[in-house]
Amino acid sequence: MHHVGDDRELLREIIDIFLATAPQMLTDVRDAVLSGDCQKVERAAHALRGAARNFFSARVDQAALALETMGRSRELADAKSAFGILAAELDKLCSLLERMLRGEKT
């Protein structure tokens, strides 16, 4: 809440934006991994990482950073398994944010 200046409406807005855009960002990472394009992996993972950092999600941050680093170092041997971890962590974050939108205690 501090990040949004204790503005609940703004928090709802940015959760909506994130939930609407995160699936495509994850798809971009997946497509990049499957294509074996290191630069695309780095960029797509970096973009998703930046978006998730707005919600201070250390797990998504670390999972995306792992892929970003693999892309930068042009070493994608473990990228598919790293993508699996990222997808799982992102799913948890999205579920948490959806519960917040519904007003459930988290």
Partner: protein
């Protein structure tokens, strides 16, 4: 005072826009590097918040271009990035950025920097020295 935000992160631009407007600034948002250059050259803002990694060229390209233009070289540019490695920070500094903040930036810190850069005489102890401020992710060693 007008702030140009150049970042493809829709969430962060929404947060920064809302909070800067609430603080009394006018805000213009662009989502890629070329838009950032065009907007800054056509309508120079009072300050720029610039992401390093954007579509259409990098923020470093924007930084280099704007700091080499007579029209825009005096505009304070605060670089915001989730890449906080020393190499990126050094590059950003060498290209003339006025400040570097890790994503997501602490708003109070950002506002303080903007005040210091835009109205330095109003901020006691405000210096021209370049500092690096990085916010830490919870539970993560940096």
């Amino acid at each position: 005072m007008t702030i140009l935000i150049a970042d493809d992160d829709r969430v962060l631009t929404q947060v920064l826009s809302a909070r800067l407007q609430r603080a009394g600034y006018s805000v213009v948002v662009v989502y890629d590097a070329m838009q950032a250059i065009m907007k800054a050259l056509r309508n120079p803002p009072d300050a720029i918040l610039l992401d390093v990694s954007m579509p259409g060229g990098t923020g470093l390209l924007v930084l280099r271009r704007l700091k080499n233009s007579i029209t825009t070289k005096q505009i304070p540019i605060i670089v915001i990035s989730s890449s906080i490695d020393s190499e990126t920070v050094a590059t950003v500094k060498s290209l003339g950025a006025d400040e570097f903040l890790a994503k997501p930036p602490d708003f109070e810190r950002l506002e303080s920097i903007l005040k210091a850069l835009l109205c330095p005489e109003r901020v006691p102890g405000a210096s021209q020295s370049w500092s690096t401020s990085t916010s830490q992710m919870p539970g993560r060693k940096q």
